[in-house]
């Protein structure tokens, strides 16, 4: 059994291509300048159709998290920490907190992105606790 890989689309392929290069990409609207996540064909703030990729700082903090003790499938090794990360730029995204003691994770902790190769073609953006 394999992990659930993201389904392919032009926008998700572009986003994950960024991850393969070690870049966490956000879409910015050329009209209202707002960033958004997840990627869309339009700006979810103003409806603008001109969107440009920009690299995020990769810094953020934990909005909430859980420690998954019973994995969704044998492809995932429990325990693992799933969190919602509020990025410095504003948008919120889901990810794993890696290289940590799951018991030490708290809401509000600062985190920094790093990248994890899941296969020869897939690199995922994960986060590590800071400080």
């Amino acid at each position: 059994m394999e992990r659930t890989f993201p389904t392919s689309s032009a926008l998700s392929d572009a986003y994950y291509a960024g991850c393969r290069e070690g870049k966490l990409l956000l879409q910015y609207c050329s009209d209202c300048q707002q960033p958004q996540f997840y990627p869309r064909i339009l700006c979810s703030h103003c409806g603008g159709r001109e969107l440009a990729w920009r690299e995020a700082s990769g810094k953020g903090h934990i909005a909430t998290f859980t420690v998954v003790r019973q994995p969704v499938s044998p492809a995932y090794e429990a325990p693992y920490v799933v969190a919602l990360i509020d990025l410095e730029e504003g948008p919120r995204m889901m990810s794993h907190i890696v290289n940590c003691d799951p018991e030490a994770v708290r809401v509000g902790q600062p985190v920094q992105v790093s990248f994890e190769n899941w296969s020869e073609t897939l690199t995922m953006p994960v986060f590590q606790l800071q400080g």
């Binding site: 993201p6 997840y38 019973q70 969704v72 499938s73 693992y80």
Partner: protein, 390 residues
Amino acid sequence: MGENLRGKVAIVGAADTPVGKVPELNAFELCADAIQRVLADAGLRKEDVDGLITCNSMSMPLLYHAEAMAEYLQMFPRYCMAVGAGGGTTFSIIHHAASAIATGMADVVVVAMADSLRSGLSRQQAMLVQSSTGHPQYEQPWGLTVPAYYALAGQAHMAEYGTRPEHFAEVAVACRAHAALNPAAQKRDPITVDDVLNSRMIADPLHLLDCSLVSDGGSAIVLTSAERAKDFPHAPVYLLGMGEGHSHEHISQARNLTTSAAKEAGERAYAMAGLGPRDMDFAQLYDCFTPTVLIELEDLGFCAKGEGGPFIVDQGIGPGGQLPVNTHGGLLSHSHPGNPGSMFALTESVWQLRGTAGERQLGKADVGLLHAQGGILSSHCTLILGREAN
């Protein structure tokens, strides 16, 4: 604002199949069984029904589920559809059916839902199919189970309001105490807060006993106009208020992790009914996981925001409590067959309002509130039901 539906439509039939482990009937057969039972309860022949609504099944998905059900029973409705999801959708569909009756598109509508998550799917399949509610590109790869998705809201509530695991546990204890009075419930042995806290951790802060059951089961109701409702064998139960609220589908996109669109759904339902939380003799609140009930109690105005935990401890939501919640035992202790889950809260409310709920019958049951949500605290619907149309 269109014409108000308040008091115009009534529930005149309610029936459940056996729930829990029911391997002798598959999901489709359970649905047919529920329909036959509800027709008997309402004293109807199948020819009297001109509307049929079902939900799709996870264990036996069909492209045209309601149409296949009508064919199986040799019914020929003029209003027929299957809804794709459960939770709040189950209650949303009640106001769609009520609108159809009020506008003359149908006169007698059966809503029937069933599934076999326990016997029709392996444990692994049930887990995967339900967790597919996550975003396929930006959430599902992280390997969340459904409890893990809800745990994110529970943890946020703890961090924001100082809610403790004991508060969540009280919800499970109360639902089990109600179920102990219900011979139809899947789990009836009383539990304590310590039992919940000592049960296996599934996804922090949720223990095994903070999670709802995995069940087989089906349930159905019959709706008709208030005028026709007086001619049925049982006292009608009137739809007084209905309201929806939708804030997101994926939890990572939620407007707010601790305040849900139950707030808008509730406000809209109260406004239609001309009633408020203090008028409710009971509440059936969607309890897929214990934190959901706390958030719903707050967002529906039964207590102030953030005070769900203390409210449960001080006022009581179990039998004899100030606000009995999930008098049948809820998804936590009665049953949770997936999409049909909210139906059992609906049939239970009908029986409470009829005064036929047996040992668990409440002393006063004139008006009750029902709330369900689907997705991950995403899609909300509130219903208010009463014994009187006005």
